[in-house]
Amino acid sequence: MNETDLHFFIDSTVNYFEEVTSESAVTGIPYLKGKEPVVLDYSGIIGISGKRKGCVYITTTRDMLEELANIILGNQDAAVETVKDLTGEIANTISGNVREAYGSSFMISVPVVVEGRAKDIRLPEHVQAFVIPITWKDFKSFLVVCLE
């Protein structure tokens, strides 16, 4: 992975929040993921295959998901299943949109959603993973990109 790869994911993330909420997200400086878990309340994970291999996940808080779901659906009480589902959909959209840069050989899986902060997300061991901090409104999230 290089800086250009990271920029594709940063642009895709910023665009997601801008399009959905009309309010930009701010991304922090990406850093290499160490052994510390990067896991918040819900994580949406996408497997990548084809020319590039690895995975991408977004991990975020329930509060942020509820706020976002309320904007998308225009109501105040998004059900738990809806909030959980939204995590996977964000991961799917960010990963799918970068095909504009990588083309159709960048193949993405359907999302898997993990609930809870107990464990870290398992990533390919021999591949470096980068963490992109995201702030939207006052909510913190992280996008983790791990690609060969």
Partner: protein
């Protein structure tokens, strides 16, 4: 006669199915079914005979491209709008070649969806 357009919504994301239904509420539609995977989508397509379908591509069981191909064999007059996060030209081109009448990229705003849907309905 005030006949409603029969709509089938296909997407593996619950919130996207809900958002599509909510945003298209102003159109004279009857949602005849919603499906979260390709196999169920085809079953519902045969059973409910929708006039219009919104169709995701990345789905479990059977992806949207394979579903679209089957749908066009069953009823080539059905109007299918592909709604996907896959933002590459090849996917859009393939969908249109297979018979999709409209193609929009996620994330979508309410305005973008309504406008594309309206234009699709106007097509013969």
């Amino acid at each position: 006669m005030n006949e409603k357009i029969k709509l089938l919504i296909v997407d593996d994301s619950l919130i996207i199915r809900q958002a599509i239904e909510k945003n298209l509420n102003d159109f004279p539609l009857e949602v005849v079914g919603t499906a979260g995977d390709g196999k169920s989508a085809l079953e519902l397509f045969r059973k409910t005979e929708p006039d219009v379908v919104t169709l995701d591509i990345t789905m479990p069981e059977l992806d949207g491209i394979a579903v679209l191909e089957q749908m066009m064999k069953i009823n080539k007059d059905a109007k299918v709008m592909v709604i996907t996060a896959l933002k590459d030209k090849a996917t859009g081109l393939r969908a249109i070649q297979l018979g999709a009448k409209s193609f929009i990229i996620k994330p979508f705003t309410s305005e973008k969806l309504k406008s594309a849907f309206s234009r699709m309905l106007e097509k013969n």
